[in-house]
Each structure stands twice: as structure tokens, then as C-alpha cells.
């Protein structure tokens, strides 16, 4: 009984060490837990897989490096798929860090032979968040007269015939915030809008897909893993899924331990002041 009541008082440091081991081991020795594909990823994949070689897609980078672990795998998975099918990508940045993030993601493809200005470009960032988004969603060249490499955007071959959102085949944004700015500014412009979001923002964004204001959602690391599976390109996101599953199970196990200890202590006597209900 003493052991049971101590289950609720495990030191945080021991918890953290166990958690680290549980997360690390399946990344080194994958278990291969099957991953089902969710409806939002299927919807997004349906939109993106209908694109043809030569079509143009806008990638809007709106996350900071802090949120990158959850949303960057989505950007990587979608970028890999689109470049593989010779779809052109026009990058714009909702926030300042997006510029460097976009350059970092694009560099390997440039080294593999993709041509800047023809296959892809990075138009950069302009201050103003949603105000700026409203401007560049309607007129890219006017909002970005120069790209990040100093080229005049009016002369870039990839932007020929492209003024704003209605002239591209899809707009994919990646953010660690909410989807609302893109729903408000890009949604009404007659272009399929797909959002790559962190897991915590997903519940707020799901109604927009239900109402048709967003064409699809890719949610967190799980969304990236599902997209990798659908595109037959398993990568880092798929590799992390075993760790995610075991991490969830471990958390539930320790919650159960805590409750066992709580009920054992309660059966012994009055509750202490720290355990007042919320």
C-alpha cells in the first residue's frame, strides 16, 4: 500500500529520464506501428495530387523557428512531393523568420538542379502581418518589387502571368499561430487554400475546412507523417510516430499511477491542502 501511495510522488527528474528513454529508443530502433490517414490529410492530398507539372503553388511561411519542430516537417513533405512532380513553388513569408526558413528548405533543391526564378523563388517578407498578407495575396509583384536575392520580381519567369492568389493553383500556408488571417484574406480569392498547422491550433481551424473556407489541413507531425505515407516518401515524420505513440502511452500510465496514489491516500485519511480540486 505504501508503494502504491508513493506512485503519486515520483520525482520530476525520474519522470523526465523515463520520458527521454521512451522517446529516444523507438527513434533508434523503430517498431513500425501502423499509421492511419486522417480525413484532413486525405482532403489536402486530394487537392495537391490533382496538380500537374508546371502548375504554380504559393508557399506562405508564417512560423518561427520555435514552432518549426511541429510544422516544418509538413513543409518539407509537401515541398518534396511538389518538386518531385515539377510543380513550381513561389515562396512568400508572413513573418521575418520565414525568409531564412524558406531559404534553408529550398537550398537542397537548388543544389539538386532546380533553377531559381524558373522552378522556385523566394519573394521575402514585408512588415504588416495580415495587412501585408492582404496586399500580397492580391498583388505579389507590387508588394514585393524585389525578391530576397535582389531580382526584380517583374522579370522572374516563374511570376509570368501571376499577379495574385487567383493566378496560382493552390496556396499552402504554414503557421504556428491560427489559420484566421489566411481564411480572411486568401480564402475569398478563388484559390484552394491548405493550411499546415501545429497540433494545438488544429481544433480552431477544423471548422474552416467543414465550411469550405479552407480546402484542407495538415496537422502537426502526424499530418506530415500521413502526407509522407500518401506520397510514398517516408521520412523523419514517419520515423517519429512510434515515439509519439509510446510517449502518449507513458503519459497515460503515469496519470493512472497518480490517480492510484490519490485514491489510496484518500482511503487512508483527509486530503492535504495541495490536492484541493480545481
Amino acid at each position: 500500500m505504501d508503494v502504491l501511495s508513493k506512485l503519486g510522488d515520483i520525482d520530476n527528474r525520474i519522470l523526465y529520464i523515463i520520458l527521454i528513454l521512451v522517446l529516444l529508443i523507438p527513434m533508434v530502433r523503430p517498431i513500425g506501428i501502423p499509421i492511419s490517414i486522417g480525413p484532413w490529410t486525405r482532403t489536402s492530398f486530394a487537392v495537391l495530387s490533382s496538380l500537374k507539372s508546371g502548375d504554380k503553388v504559393i508557399f506562405d511561411f508564417g512560423y518561427n523557428v520555435d514552432g518549426a519542430p511541429d510544422v516544418e516537417p509538413i513543409a518539407q513533405a509537401v515541398m518534396a512531393d511538389l518538386f518531385k512532380r515539377d510543380i513550381k513553388i513561389i515562396c512568400v513569408c508572413y513573418n521575418a523568420q520565414g525568409v531564412m526558413i524558406a531559404e534553408k528548405l529550398l537550398r537542397p533543391y537548388e543544389e539538386q538542379g532546380k533553377v531559381y526564378g524558373v522552378d522556385f523563388c523566394n519573394l521575402g517578407y514585408v512588415a504588416g502581418e495580415e495587412t501585408a498578407l492582404a496586399a500580397y495575396a492580391r498583388d505579389l509583384k507590387k508588394t514585393f518589387p524585389l525578391d530576397v536575392r535582389g531580382n526584380h520580381t517583374a522579370t522572374l519567369p516563374i511570376l509570368e502571368g501571376v499577379t495574385g492568389a487567383p493566378d496560382v493553383e493552390a496556396w499552402v500556408f504554414f503557421t504556428d499561430g491560427g489559420a484566421e488571417p489566411w481564411v480572411r484574406q486568401v480564402g475569398p480569392l478563388n484559390v484552394p487554400v491548405i493550411g499546415g498547422l501545429i497540433t494545438v491550433s488544429a481544433p480552431n481551424a477544423e471548422p474552416f475546412v467543414q465550411s469550405g473556407q479552407l480546402a484542407g489541413l495538415l496537422i502537426g507531425l502526424r499530418g506530415a507523417a500521413e502526407y509522407e505515407i500518401l506520397t510514398n516518401n517516408p521520412g523523419a515524420a514517419v520515423a517519429a510516430m512510434d515515439a509519439q505513440s509510446l510517449g502518449h502511452l507513458l503519459l497515460i500510465l503515469f496519470i493512472v499511477f497518480g490517480n492510484i496514489a490519490f485514491f489510496v491516500k484518500r482511503s487512508k485519511g483527509p486530503i492535504g491542502s495541495k490536492e484541493v480540486s480545481k
Binding site: 520530476n12 518561427n64 520555435d66 502581418e129 495580415e130 504556428d176 475569398p188 494545438v200 480552431n204
Partner: protein, 256 residues
Amino acid sequence: MVSGRVSGFMALLIIFGTMMLGIERAKKQLPTIRKIAGLEAIDEAVGRATEMGKPIFCTPGWSDITTSTAAPTFAALDIIHHVARLAARFDTKLVVAIAYPNVFPLAEQVVRQAFVLEGKADVYEPGTVVFTSPEQYAYAAACLGIIQREKVTATVLVGHFASEAINFAEASAAVGAISIAGTESTTQLPFFTAACDYTMIGEELLAAGAYISQDPVRLGSINGQDYVKLFSFIWILIGSLLTTIGSVWMKDILTR
């Protein structure tokens, strides 16, 4: 009018009108607001800090005053003003951490004014309000460092937060501090509710200024807002019924 914004303008007029009505009624009879546990707990938190001789930590969240999350920041500054007045009254050390440069001069002014009102202008230290960084996790790291180094006895985490919320709540728990949180951010409310001692949910944070001041005009405007919520509830009910029977009238009205 700009197309697609007529219903928004109508809503704004209705909200403004009911607020003004609420204010007029409040001048005749002061409305009551139910107890908000988080705000009531501030006195207890300051008292505990005074007894133990340790500081109180406050932050108005990770938000600027030029974005859509400006309102919670202003509401948070109201609460920080109240905490600062109590801290000045009882000579308790206070640390206020600010993320955005725009908020920094306002916070300094708010805290300094609190000390002046308590007759303790000479006691106010320039290092009370600390600018950290607009970078989310640089701000979080700075706040965690302050909480852990200073071994604060109370943390007041009010305003708009992103994923650093759980870090602050746990850091408070780790040093044994009372944590009073409040946010309008629905993504962070679950973390605060689970990990903090007191949590102000959504509008409780935004009504804080009126609650603390008990000013009839501010209380009246809160009272007026309640009628707006009642109106919204009825509107949602009617809209749900109409949409269920296949009518698009409500959708047309709201998208005009």
C-alpha cells in the same frame, strides 16, 4: 459600405449601443459581477509574498498592442497595475517581464503610476519592469530564469500566451509559487486550467479592470456586453434552426 462587412458594422453598433445603455443603467444602480476567483486570489498572493519576503512575478503575455490580441494585453496591464499597487503598499518586490517593445513603455508607466498612487514613488526601482525579447522562447527563457532564480512566491500570468504557457505554469509549480493565470487564448486555457491554481477564462480576464476598480461606468459596459452575449445566443439558436431546415437566410445576412 465595403462589401462583406455590413453585418460586422451592425454588430459593432449593437455592441456599442448596449454598452452605452449598460453604462446609463449603471449610473442609477451599480451592477454586480460574480466573484472572479483569480482576481480575489491576488490579495492572498501578495500577502504571501510579503510574509515570505520573496518577489511576485507578473507578465502581460506574449503579444503586442498592434495586433488582434491587443485587448488581452491592455486587460493584463490593468491587473498588473492592481498587483503593483498592492506590492507598493506592502513593500513587496515586484518583477514584470515584457516581451514586446511597444508594451514596455506602457507597462513601465502603469507600474510607476501604481507606486506614485501609493505614495511610494521614491521606492520604485527602474529594474522592476524588464524587457526580455519579442522572440517567443527567448521571452519564455527569460521568464523561467526570473521565476527560478528569484524563487518567486506568486506568479500572475495574464494576457495572450502561446505554447510557453505550460512552461510558465510548471516553473511556478516547481518553485512552489501560487499561480494566477488568465488568457483569452482557447489553445492555452487547458494548460493553464490544469497547471495553475487559479485561471481566468476568456472574458473574465477582459472584465478584470472593471471588477478591480468597481467603477460604475466600466461595470455598466460589462453588463451591457452580457446582453450582447444573450443576443448572440438567440441569434445562434435561430441560425442553427434555420440552417437545419435548409434556409440560407442567416448565412446571407451574415455575409453581406
